[in-house]
């Protein structure tokens, strides 16, 4: 398959990328790993006139830390994140997820920034960032803005981002909940995308759940936190009984996707099973 004709520009810095984005406005697309965009271009579901390649920008790579945050560069690949000791120590669910995104080849080149900008409903990172209470750092010609993951994902392939903006980094809080976190996923057997994924970050203080963040991938058109589960857990003992009660009615009020792999009923059931598995891992 051959993509539509396109022009190509390599950006060597964030400033240069922003300049190109403003020059070509809605006639361009950023390309990072290309592992969502190139397949879309081959199917001609995307026909950008210009590509702005950000993959070589040094400032966007790497994983660092401050006192309160882990900072993941937008161009960090899934494999980079999987290899990071900082991630391993402060947010085990993120490390676990890296072994579950696609396959080795995809993990070598796909980036976290591209993954969340693309916002596939079956992608893993959006859900993980919701559970992690992450902040997404976005840059445009005017400067930098910060968006909570809770406000970033707005629908099917749709985010709180304008055409001329660039994700530069993702901030993950170093919190007690993120240190006690897990990701459980039921992959679609051929594509490896999530049929259902459940990310859970739970802080337990004095035997009681002090803070619970539980989010799902693959279940609805937009990744979401399940407030039903979170409320049912908070203030309770964290044990088999409270987990059973909290996961008895998952995705309540949420419109659940269906396709020929899983109808609504089965997906909802899987979501319950995977939420229970995830929470049981942590209790």
């Amino acid at each position: 398959m051959v993509p539509y004709k396109v022009s190509y520009h390599k950006a060597n810095s964030v400033a240069e990328a922003i300049e190109l984005l403003n020059k070509y406005e809605d006639e361009c697309k950023i390309i990072a790993g290309g592992h969502s965009l190139v397949p879309m271009m081959k199917l001609r579901l995307a026909e950008p006139e210009n590509l702005i390649d950000i993959s070589g920008i040094e400032e966007l790579s790497g994983i660092t830390e401050t006192e309160n945050f882990i900072i993941i560069g937008a161009c960090a690949t899934h494999a980079d994140i999987g290899r990071s000791d900082i991630i391993k120590k402060h947010a085990p669910m993120l490390e676990q997820a890296t072994n579950k995104v696609g396959d080795v080849q995809v993990r070598n080149f796909g980036t976290i920034g591209g993954n969340i900008a693309h916002a596939d409903p079956a992608a893993d990172w959006p859900t993980l960032l919701l559970a992690a209470n992450a902040k997404i750092i976005i840059q445009n010609a005017e400067g930098t803005r910060e968006v909570d993951a809770d406000d970033f994902f707005q629908g099917l392939f749709s985010t709180d981002m304008e055409e001329n903006e660039l994700i530069t980094a993702i901030y993950i809080p170093k919190s007690a909940a993120n240190r006690n976190s897990v990701y459980r996923k039921f992959p679609q057997p051929a594509s490896r995308f999530a049929l259902v994924g459940c990310a859970a970050a739970i802080e337990v203080r004095n035997g009681k759940v002090a803070n619970a963040r539980v989010a799902f991938a693959g279940v609805s058109a937009t990744p979401f936190r399940d407030s039903g589960i979170e409320k049912a857990l908070e203030g309770r003992n964290f044990n088999a009984e409270s987990i059973e009660a909290a996961t008895s009615n998952v995705a309540n009020g949420v419109s659940v996707m269906q396709d020929h792999f899983a109808n609504e009923k089965y997906r909802r059931h899987l979501a319950g099973v995977f939420a229970k598995k995830a929470l049981t891992d942590l209790a």
Binding site: M1, G34, M41, N108
Partner: protein, 157 residues
Amino acid sequence: MQVEVSLTVNGKLYKQNVEPRMLLVQFLRDELRLTGTHIGCDTSSCGACTVLLDGKALKSCTMLAVQANGKSVKTIEGMAENGALHPLQEGFHQEHGLQCGFCTPGMIMTAADLLSHNPSPNEHEIREALEGNFCRCTGYHNIVKSVQYAANKMQAS
């Protein structure tokens, strides 16, 4: 629009003008005539097109040639040295790791990535590493043995 791409492929530097929409796999197969890299699904699933880009396994149907500009590619044609098969190639031969052979170049390149950072993988690790490579013939059993053969041989030498 044409863009100059310079790529080191199997140790040799190539400079060529290409359309930005050209896929890396087309560049390798159609421009350089390195047809050992196969196109199976053309939809990023099967892994038949896997090559090493700067040492890392890549589905070359999922990257534009321009994205690889300045980098180094290794294909199945670059595996044998001085007429001697690479231990992975030898392993697939010895352990009957192929039937039709269509998937084999991709399998070998992905396995090469694995062995570069995990010189003695167990069966589970081999199967996980090869998750993105499909074989319609062998049932994978002998492919695992082939990779183990290569790992043992490379460890011994």
